[in-house]
Amino acid sequence: MDLSLIIMQLLSGIALGAVLVITALGLTIVFGMLGVVNFAHGALFMIGAYAGLYLASLTGSFWWGLLLAPILIGAFGMLIEFVLIRRLYGRSIDDPLLLTFGLSYILVEGVRIVFGSDGIPFPTPPQLIGVLDLGIGFFPRYRLFVIALVAVVLLVLWLTLEKTRVGLIVRAGARDPTIMQVLGVDIGRVWLAIFGLGVGLAALGGVLAGPMRSVNPEMGSLVLAEAFVVTVIGGLGSIVGAVVAGLMVGISISMVALFAPEMATIVMFALMAIVLLIRPQGLFGVRGRTA
């Protein structure tokens, strides 16, 4: 086994991890702000993939699908927060989890009714078909694009959170929502926006994953488990944790797939169990809140 093969597999792992990072990020930001774990996150990821596919075929361009699907599904997420989740603030922390679980049933079955139960192929955009010669081997152009796009999205998110006034409100709101209300910030509107952002990120993950996985109504269930594993390893509510753990899981999956393919689906769960035994709060988690 030569080194270049391992490096190519490492790149594959990073591409896989990049989608995981985006998806888990949505989950973790919503939890950090609202204290809600969105069980419909996987279903919304799947709907994002379908929306991207539909919009791409409608406009004839993948790029419109990539741009519009997260925005539309994000707006749909805000509707969900406004109509359903909002009623559960102040009740048991289990209630939003249960409600969104019921919601995922509705969403998955709704997609089955509209698009059918069979998988649909998601064509790779023509500009990104084929492979690029990296000197040591050939790597799919699309996967390189995914890595680059996720890096840009992460940078924009980080700059918004750390350097802008809006980011300041969001970070302060995560620490102490009551004080923010006293200071005259409409925290309900912040929560609405954050929930929309979280769902939008899930949809973006769905569109990006589309050409790499097959698009079918059940694709969200594996993604949900993966996103859970990533957020648990990274520490629920931690953005840095989601990034590090997402890349860690992606790379371990593709590395193990190289040496022992039958273990590839199992390795991330084993990784999670090990992390939990050593650090129950996750790599970057704050002790007390969850463990």
């Binding site: 359903l84 009740r91 922390i93 289990d94 209630d95 049933y105 509705i106 199992i266 769960f269 129950p280």
Partner: protein
């Protein structure tokens, strides 16, 4: 979902016939289950209510009484079924020995998952149990030489059972129902004993206020692990019953959708009530039966009904009914 006092405690404090009735909950529940095949539209439905009722009852110990929302109960339901099937089909163990062996092995699995997951709290616990149960699912998928992989486990059929010299045809639905009901009765008796024991009070104390339970000197972590194992053991018995009933074990039984279904059932019926799980299992299965008569997309309705229950009826059908009865009887 968490109220100031446990419903059972209120009933015990109140005088009158209602509390006496509640003390006979095992007998009453068995009596209701005994007439089930004659009341429900089909005997197949009755058997399923029995099986899922036991699984959900075990889960209720964890979620309803201890307040731990696990999304991984399918692992133990499935483990009970797989271990029973493998013991009978591969090792030729007689069925009456296969069931205790399967429950024991499933309890060991619950111990392993419990050691990792009970280190976490709150929502973390839900996510970790879901992930670890998915691990069990993928292991069963990969270990196809043992489990049959995607096709499920086949090749074990219990068609005739010898009950102390009495030969019973196990393929006869009524015989099968009452044999399985004996298992359900055993599980109910066991669960009732747990709830009436001092340990039962400890787990309810943990649900109401974990900090205070710890301050009182109870070992919260150990109690959680024990209740996780007990809950897994009872749910795995439901899995054994399923294996004996179907003579196959579908792989889907281990998927987290099954865990979700168990959660739905306990909430529909009423968490923290003794008979609620059976009411929940019956309502869910009847709903599925009725709706799938006129549309294959029954899940959309079940999902919507579940959402409405979370929003407006968090105590479930049986829990709300019991509350209404108590208001009428206990407080004049």
């Amino acid at each position: 979902m968490t109220g100031p006092s446990s419903g059972e405690a209120v009933a015990k404090a109140s005088p009158g016939g209602f509390s006496w009735l509640l003390e006979q909950r095992v007998l009453l529940s068995v009596a209701v289950l005994a007439v089930l095949p004659w009341v429900l539209p089909s005997q197949a439905l009755a058997v399923n209510v029995l099986i899922y009722g036991v699984v959900v009852m075990g889960y209720n110990l964890l979620f309803g009484y201890t307040g731990l929302l696990s999304f991984g109960q399918a692992a133990f339901f499935g483990a009970g079924a797989y271990f029973t099937g493998i013991a009978i089909g591969r090792y030729g163990v007689p069925w009456f020995a296969a069931v205790p062996v399967a429950v024991l092995l499933s309890t060991c699995l619950a111990a392993a998952i419990g050691i990792v997951s009970t280190r976490t709290r709150g929502i973390y616990f839900s996510m970790v149990t879901l992930a670890l149960a998915q691990l069990v699912y993928y292991v069963a998928l990969q270990a196809s030489s043992f489990t049959g992989g995607e096709n499920g486990l086949r090749g074990f059929t219990v068609d005739r059972i010898n009950l102390f010299g009495l030969q019973l045809n196990f393929l006869d639905p009524i015989n099968k129902y009452y044999v399985l009901m004996a298992f359900a009765a055993l599980a109910m008796w066991f669960q009732s004993r747990i709830l009436n024991s001092p340990f039962g009070a400890v787990i309810e104390a943990i649900r109401e206020n974990e900090q205070r339970a710890r301050a009182c000197g109870y070992d919260v972590e150990r109690s959680k692990l024990i209740v996780f194992m007990l809950s897994g053991a009872i749910s795995s018995l439901g899995g054994c019953m399923l294996a004996l009933h179907l003579s196959i074990v579908p792989l889907d039984i281990l998927h987290y959708q099954t865990s979700g279904m168990i959660v739905m059932m306990v909430l529909l019926g009423g968490a923290r009530s003794f008979f609620g799980p059976f009411v929940g299992a019956a309502s869910f299965l009847i709903l599925e039966d009725v709706i799938s008569l006129w549309t294959p997309h029954w899940q959309i309705f079940v999902g919507a009904i579940f959402v409405l229950f979370v929003l407006f009826l968090p105590k479930g059908i049986w829990g709300t009914l019991l509350d209404a009865l108590r208001v009428g009887k206990a407080r004049p």
